[in-house]
């Protein structure tokens, strides 16, 4: 029997604490759309996405009304375009990206991920073509998101790819200079890329995934912040163990909502249900911030000593609560710390409390990595590559996913403001120390070998 307090508690989470489903991401296999004729391949992609995804938005709207839970984003993740378009070169891949863009318009879907290359151990012709096409694709399409996996625990770090990504970041930033380098916000560089991640810009449909699968990203951090505030108001002397318990309980409830809706979306679409991603994904809206959770826990200046420990507690408690709620947990499943998308992190960066180095340390205990960080437009490609290499090393050595989504803002310097709008937010441009000092290291190229603990068989 439902208790009155439980009903009111759930309603409070929805109405006052912004409990929502952050994203319903439909994964669609488009490997069967490959064709020797690029026009035919594009048409097959559009037709398949229309067939699989046309009902995604109306189904989500119906379920949102039925359960009284907002579903914020409806997205697509497709098979890696480096494979689908391998035979068609740079120009063909641009055409395929436009076909994805058109499919999003037709189905009223926000974003599509899967303009992806997996190059942790080396490049194929298709990978090369996809990487070369990135500046134009990210400048000339609205909905297409790209990802490149340059490292894995099993393969090590492909430093040739890392260096190339440093160069490409600058090219993409220049190609989208009128939007302050916004194209870079639609590109994620990964170590150990997950195959079932529902969050953008890094979503794609991995090789082991079903033909058509629904993956869910659960609610943002606002619910957990309010739960902690309430607990601390009731018991001011809560210790950190009790705080972790409160986070676990809230994560349990949030995850259950995600799985409930995800399974019903899948059933309505005739698709498989995949996973719930437990990641706490902030938005620029005050009150929906991972940084604010850290502040409620007692970190007055985010970036100060203690920040990493607080984040580790948060990340672990969210996972434990979520894992108890669902047996289908996957994706990234950790706290995101995207600086421009999180009002408290952005403020800490602007105040000088939060540095790139501290952010890097924080990424060793959470997902994903150096995320949505604006850096000076004149940061050279070798330095960008070195930043990527550091973050990849954390992922490879700790057997976890890490990623870099960094935006060199053309014509702007450290301390200036940049705004990307909407969910991408805005922030103060962060300084990069010792630019160029790792040039000789990254130019050596080759592959940093896989760590000893990759040999597990």
């Amino acid at each position: 029997m439902l208790r009155t307090e439980d009903i009111l508690s759930t309603i409070r989470m929805v109405r006052q604490e912004h409990l929502d489903v952050r994203t319903v991401t439909l994964g669609v296999n488009i490997l069967d759309c490959a064709s020797p004729d690029i026009t035919q391949a594009c048409e097959k992609v559009r037709q398949k996405l229309r067939r699989c995804a046309m009902r995604l938005v109306p189904v989500c709207d119906d379920l949102s009304a039925k359960y009284g839970i907002p579903i914020v984003n409806k997205r697509l993740a497709v098979s890696p375009l480096s494979a689908v378009g391998a035979a068609h070169g740079e120009a063909g891949l641009l055409q395929l990206a436009r076909a994805l863009d058109a499919a999003c318009e037709e189905t009223r879907i926000d974003l599509v991920g899967g303009f992806t290359a997996l190059v942790q151990k080396g490049f194929t012709e298709g990978d090369h073509a996809l990487l070369r096409s990135l500046p134009r694709v990210l400048a000339e399409t609205q909905h297409v998101c790209a990802s490149v996996n340059v490292a894995s625990t099993k393969a090590g770090i492909n430093m040739d790819a890392v260096l190339l990504m440093g160069e490409l970041l600058r090219e993409i930033a220049h190609a989208t200079a009128a939007q302050d380098g916004f194209g870079c916000a639609k590109l994620v560089i990964f170590a150990n890329i997950p195959e079932d991640n529902p969050f953008m810009a890094g979503a794609y449909l991995g090789a082991g995934e079903p033909e058509c699968v629904v993956n869910i990203g659960v609610s943002g951090p606002g619910v957990i912040r309010r739960a902690l505030e309430r607990a601390l108001q009731a018991h001011q002397q809560l210790d950190l163990g009790a705080i972790a318990e409160e986070i676990k309980t809230t994560a349990f409830r949030v995850t259950r909502v995600g799985e409930l809706i995800g399974r019903e979306v899948a059933e309505a679409l005739g698709a498989e249900f995949g996973i719930v991603d437990l990641s706490l994904a902030p938005t620029p809206t005050p009150g929906d911030s991972v940084g604010e959770i850290l502040q409620v826990m007692g970190i007055a200046a985010i970036g100060a000593p203690g920040t990493t420990a607080a984040l580790a507690l948060l990340n672990d408690a969210v996972k434990k609560g979520g894992l108890f709620a669902s047996s289908s947990v996957g994706g990234l499943s950790g706290a995101f710390i995207p600086v421009s998308e999180d009002s408290a992190l952005g403020a800490a960066a602007a105040a000088g409390h939060l540095s790139l180095e501290k952010l890097e340390a924080m990424t060793s205990v959470c997902s994903v990595g150096l995320d949505m960080i604006a850096v000076p437009g004149d940061t050279d490609a070798r330095t960008l590559a070195a930043l990527i290499a550091d973050e990849m090393a954390i992922g490879v050595m700790n057997n976890k996913t890490t990623a870099v989504r960094i935006i060199p803002v053309p014509g702007k310097r450290a301390g200036e403001r940049v705004s990307f709008g909407g969910l991408f937010g805005g922030s103060t441009i962060m300084p990069v120390r010792e630019c160029g000092a790792a040039r000789a290291f990254v130019e050596r190229g080759g592959r940093i070998p896989a760590p000893l603990h990759s040999l597990t068989n």
Partner: protein, 201 residues
């Protein structure tokens, strides 16, 4: 042989009421089959179904139960339970939703809400409401016929409480079950057809 009877009792609450009522039924040779009891702002009410011997008439049982309390304390009603179909209209089949409403209290508000629900064929399965300092809070479980558009029902209910501070929610019951019950499994997890029918993309 035995017969089934429906017994209801209404009285100001005190310790020992259920003990007295159930003892009286037992002493009359009865066996209790189902029971529901609540206390509302100091008033105790209970409804129960009992199997009693054929020779025990409803009037005798009513007197026995009344005698379990103080003189004039219990208002007791006993009726034979009708076997077979109950004299009611067809009950709607559909999903269960939880309705909550709060706002400034107005005379006739509950009557308007109930009349609207009845007009749409929406059955009230459970209902509780109370007022406090001029405000009301209502919470109920409804069965919405499958044909009903939950969005329209929500809009209509919201229009019934036009005060600016009114809050109305209408959500499928599974949200509350999922967020509160550890053992909750959504039906599609266990449904065998979920596997066989998922090839329609």
């Amino acid at each position: 042989m035995s017969q089934e009877v429906v017994i209801s009792v209404l009285t100001p609450d005190r310790v020992g009421l259920i003990a007295g009522v159930t003892q009286a039924i037992y002493a009359a040779g009865g066996n209790i089959c189902a029971i529901s009891q609540t206390v509302l702002q100091g008033y105790f009410t209970i409804i129960l179904i009992a199997a009693v011997p054929d020779e025990c008439t409803p009037e005798q049982l009513q007197k026995a139960v009344e005698a379990s309390g103080r003189a004039g304390e219990l208002s007791v009603l006993v009726r034979p339970r009708r076997r077979g179909a109950l004299p009611m209209g067809p009950m709607p089949s559909g999903d269960r939703f939880v309705l909550t409403m709060s706002g400034r209290d107005q005379p006739g508000l509950l009557a308007r809400i109930a009349a609207y629900l009845a007009s749409r064929g929406i059955n009230i399965e459970d209902l509780a409401a109370h007022t406090d300092g001029g405000r009301f809070l209502l919470m109920g479980e409804l069965t919405l016929p499958a044909r009903e558009d939950v969005r329209q029902v929500y809009i209509d209910l919201e229009a019934l409480v036009p005060t600016p501070d009114a809050v109305v929610t209408l959500q499928h019951i599974n949200v509350f079950v999922a967020t509160t019950e550890i053992g909750f499994r959504h039906r599609s997890v266990l449904s065998p057809r979920a596997c066989s029918e998922r090839k329609t993309y």
